[in-house]
Symmetry: none
DNA sequence: GGCGCTATTTATAAGTC
DNA sequence: TGACTTATAAATAGCGC
């Protein structure tokens, strides 16, 4: 939200990253607060301190956070991951839906391509001044779509990051886990 | 952000509150995700499920949350629990597949773009009356594709944010509800 | 009654000092 | 460099199907 569309990626510049962190941290907590108030649901945000790996930013307060965290613990110990499995199942369904959407997009594109090809056949039959005009319009559309795809790729990176195992430092999870 | 300035207070109307919760939960998690990516800091959001007091919405995933929670809990006591990474690994592969499909779509679009460019090349050679008509069709297709992609955008965000599936399928908001 | 749309408000990337 | 300002992107409240 600003002078340029948000590009999703690590901000290498230190000063810029720091500034962005402060701004976004603030508004993130504000949003969490609003959600809590508007819907009357307990919420908690934990952020690893960017400067001290052993510190965690806890919102709204360690005491409040504890209630939720205890709830999470109970969830873990009682259902033993079943809940998580449910979540993953949901994710899988979403992924399946995404695939469907992609198929549709591909079909649309093929049809568009077919139309363009048809135009090629018409080239010997006469021509209107409009051709260039219309062609340009289509070209712009295609370019816009290409840009969308580019952004999509960024989002997919986001998605891919969720299961990032590099972030997981749990020695206890090793026995027959997925890591090679 | 909307037709009226946000008034901070409990939303008594059930349907409205539910809707607001979903919208804001989504964007809150998205914001958290962005902060994580942009600044490369682990972050975690916990939200008590509005419909089930014993459930907690955990973002980005129980596994990731644990790292932060464990860090926090070091101040309180020790805890253990485990979760298989298999599901995450599976999702990782699914995401990779999705990425591949996207690449494909991208290629298709580039090809279509090339065809359009060719169209422009034909401008001096002759044209049929139907040409304008067909060109319009192509434009419409392109527009449709752009819209599909837009939709995909939203879906991907959904996936990235791992919304709480339990709440999404809830007909009722729960014990907090007040009629109005 | 959930879903998508649109008018507006909010968040923020840059720019300024 | 950090506090303010500005130009824009993003979020979203209320509405219609």
């Amino acid at each position: 939200m600003g002078r340029k569309p948000t590009k999703l990626g690590y901000i290498a510049n230190d000063a810029l990253r720091r500034r962005t962190f402060l701004k976004r941290e603030t508004s993130l907590l504000k949003k969490a607060s609003e959600l809590s108030v508007l819907c009357d649901v307990p919420a908690c945000v934990l952020i690893a301190s960017p400067c001290d790996p052993n510190r965690v930013i806890i919102w709204p307060s360690p005491v409040h956070a504890r209630n939720l965290i205890d709830l999470v613990r109970r969830d873990w110990s009682s259902v033993r991951g079943k809940r998580a499995l449910d979540q993953d199942a949901f994710l899988s369904r979403e992924v399946a839906r995404l695939k469907d959407q992609l198929q549709k997009v591909e079909r649309e594109i093929r049809e568009a391509e077919a139309k363009v090809t048809m135009m090629r056949y018409l080239r010997g039959e006469g021509c209107a001044d409009r051709l260039e005009e219309v062609g340009f319009l289509v070209e712009e559309k295609a370019r816009a779509v290409a840009e969308r795809i580019e952004r999509l790729n960024g989002l997919l990176l986001l998605v891919a990051q969720v299961p990032d195992e590099a972030f997981i430092n749990q020695p206890e999870l090793g026995p027959n886990g997925a890591s090679g």
